[in-house]
Amino acid sequence: MQELLTFTIIGLSTGAIYAVVASGLVVTYTTSGIFNLAHGATGMLSAFTYWQLRFDWDLPAPLALFITLFVLCPLFGIVTERFVMRGLQGTTEVVRLSVTVALFAFMIGLANWIWPNDASREAFLKFYEGNSISIGGFNVSWHRLITFGCAVVVAIILRIVLYKTRMGVAMRAVVDDRNLTELNGGRPDRVSMFAWGISASLAGLAGILLAGDQQLNIEPLVLLVINAYAAAIIGRLKSLPLTFLGAGLLGLLDAYYLMVSDESWFPQTAFGFSLSGVRSALPTIVLFIALLARPQSRLRVGTTKLREENRVPEWRTAIMGAVALVVVVVGISGMLTRSNTLLLLNGFTFAMVTLSLVPLTGYAGQMSLAPLTFAGLGAIAMSKLPGDGNLVTLVVAIAIVAIVGAIVALPALRLSGIYLALATAAFAVMVSKIVFNQRQTFQTGNITVPVLRIPFVTIDTPRARLILASVCFAILGLIVVAVRRSRLGRRLVALKDSPAAAATLGMSLTRTKLAAFAISAGIAACAGALAGDKVSPQQYEFTQSLPIVLLAVVGGVGSVAGALFGGLLLGGNSVLATIVPTVKNLTKIGPGTVGITLGRNPQGAAAQIGDSFRPLIEQPRLIAVSAAGAFGIWALDATDVISHWSFFVASVVWILAVSPNLPALTAAAPGRRVMAGAWLTVGLVIAAGVDWSTALDATGKRIILIIGLVALFGVGAQRVVENSPRVHSASPDLAGLDTNFSREDIELAEQKIGVVL
């Protein structure tokens, strides 16, 4: 009885923390429609800030608390709303969610930078450390009482704010109908800002309380939010009382499980599998169940109309791209140092995992936060199955994981949008807590995945593995293109664009989603199975999946090129870390930073780059010029006139800065043509003429140099040629009078007259 009371108190105080976090989630979701995955990270950052003020700089606790919770947190929330979230009105759920993932990655990076994991820090003390009072014969620490008290106070304050104040009424009005509120003179933006401010403070409070309860570490504090997801979902993302109830139940469940798991009768294993991870997975299990208990999501009409648009990939372009990729990799792999080869190899592995999101997220619009989980399962299957990594083993491993993916996804498929994303998050955490810690999977912490064995080919060097990875990516990419061009591909896109229309036309949404999940799981499994190295379960954790999802969307999840771009960007991130320590820290916040700007370019970077090449591709003569130039630069390298690095720098400048400008150059007025041409030539001479392998000492610096050169000369030349006056652009009436009709003129005229769209 005594013990039960003890654990009840522990449970309620844990539940109190969950309640505070979850209420913050609910407040922002209801007022801005954005489910803030970074909510826990805000709490983490706030706990570290408090530690800094209170224990490192020795401010008195009340002052430190005040600064953290009532100044910095609200400020952070407001800035986030104003500069990041506000631009997201009218974007898709995938983009909205990705931006919070970006924020999440940004904050983790920031915390890692300012408070490195390895530094020893003074202890984070509980409030009134060591003090306790006796309740019913049991000692309860003041910290627990304060925690519990905080939850009660938060509940009361939220109730008063929402129901008794003007702002609260406005907040509830925004929840009901944002547009109507605006028409009636309400200011939804300001209301959202206020909500984000409150929410950040709530996260901050929870973070500080939790850090005292457990310890000051990034990971557990961040994952706190997953536990809060469960409570928020129990509250159906709108009811605060239900959220508090859910949080309480969650806390109690955890405490009671802890209580009974020590008993001798409690099983430590089931069917030969260890149950040690179950406790830490409890909140996610509850989350999963709570999600499944949701009523079937209704088919809605008039949901966000999508801004993104992706063309159906042409076979010709796809095959040319695949061949070019492999040729380029074969070409440059001979020039790379071993460490750079491994980095690029890593990039390709990421690219394959990212590719797994193209059919699922890009085509079908279904968000998965668990791509690496399937990669992990693929790696396990490849290492455990007989055959020592031959092709049959690979195919079987992919098939098994695809089937597992489909089966596991099955119950979650009646969900959509954010609920589906959360279910995949829950799945990812459950698998890493319960499956990856088994003796049967990652027995000693890591396993060796055999290198793929192909008849008559030996793959034993990093270079060979890199080429293999590029070939595999090319093949998988072509498969994805084939999917998009197929009947299934059209169904996937239909599912994304209008589930309601798709269903009323006779499409089983569940079956289509199932296919998307199976394909996606299969591709991710392939990436995992091709690891060809020692792998550890940490590589496949939920938090590692988030940057992949993020960069997939940044690169452009609607296309294979976008996946390649995103994956290489993620792999290349560690290249930048070679420069100097400060820049190394910058790279930690890199992925997050690029993602935060996503709202402005929802189609992804690859689409943007692709667009700049479109005029070039339409002119075979100029493609030939471009190819000849690239070959010329390669010839300079092959004859040892320039170094490998100079070749690389010059090639990138040629391909990214010169080639896209060729069509505009040929069309520009002579004076401008000469100017722009000269400018580009200077750029090329600098790129090829300087021996960058000695001029700069780190790969990262050279990458930055390349980006700088491309930007300086490419954009510079573009500015020059685009300023040239084009006679016919002013009025279609003039076209044909002073010059002959060009194709452009005809198109323009047709547009103006309205004969085509």
Binding site: L306, E309, R490, A500, A501, T504, L505, G506, M507, S508
Partner: protein
């Protein structure tokens, strides 16, 4: 036995009775009109028939089979197809692929031929390669109709197909509807354009505040006191 029989369908949203015990029939080879002032419950009734909204009470039969609890995609297999008042095109697909998806879902024998015929029928062949998201409303509505027809339906539910169409397009639509009915298709039409409704419908149901207040031929409806009152508010 009618093609579509709606019996006592009631939909309640919280305290609001959106549809209150409606009976409605649509016949093979006829255009059945469903009119009524804004908020009368027309779209809600459409949602119940197409399976997007579960009714609080009542039943829906297609050719005598009770489909009240069936999922939308199963109803499509029974020959139900609909368009949407707020457009629901697959905006990132081309016009052609919009129609093609539907034809493929219905497993028609000659997908390409069917798509060509339908695009021609609604007069959109020249736009086949455009992205559906770029179309003006009028053309988009026609794509929705072509897409619904591609599932080879027996009953076509049209939710305000003429809104956004200009006069000549509307006239063409009217002709198309008559043609479809002549081919043996049942059409249930929700529309505000009274000219069109009166011209193409065989029978008209008038819905007001969730209840059917009149049923009859266009001529009867035009002279019905209850209808005039609902529309004009005269007493």
């Amino acid at each position: 036995m009618s093609l579509l029989e709606v019996r006592g369908v009631m939909v309640r949203f919280g305290g609001v009775m959106a549809v209150g015990g409606v009976d409605l029939d649509a016949e093979v080879g006829q255009v059945t009109g469903l009119i009524g002032p804004n908020g009368a419950g027309k779209t809600t009734l459409f949602n119940v028939i197409s399976g997007m909204q579960e009714p609080t009470a009542g039943q829906v039969f297609v050719s005598g089979v009770d489909i009240t609890r069936e999922a939308p995609h199963r109803r499509a297999k029974r020959g139900l197809a609909r368009t949407f008042q707020r457009l629901e095109l697959f905006s990132s697909l081309t016009v052609r692929d919009n129609v093609r998806v539907a034809a493929e879902l219905a497993a028609v024998p000659d997908v390409d031929g069917t798509v060509d015929t339908l695009l021609d029928k609604v007069g959109l062949s020249h736009l086949a390669a455009s992205a559906a998201g770029d179309l003006p409303t009028g053309s988009a509505r026609l794509v929705e109709i072509a897409r619904a027809l591609a599932t080879m339906p027996r009953l076509l539910l049209l939710d305000e197909p003429a809104s956004g169409l200009d006069d000549s397009e509307t006239e063409r639509l009217g002709g198309l509807l008559r043609e479809l009915a002549a081919d043996g298709l049942g059409v249930l039409l929700v529309e505000h354009d009274m000219d069109l409704v009166m011209h193409v419908c065989d029978r008209i149901h008038v819905l007001d505040l969730g209840n059917i207040i009149a049923i009859g031929t266009p001529n009867e409806i035009q002279h019905d006191d209850a209808v005039l009152q609902a529309y004009l508010g005269t007493s």
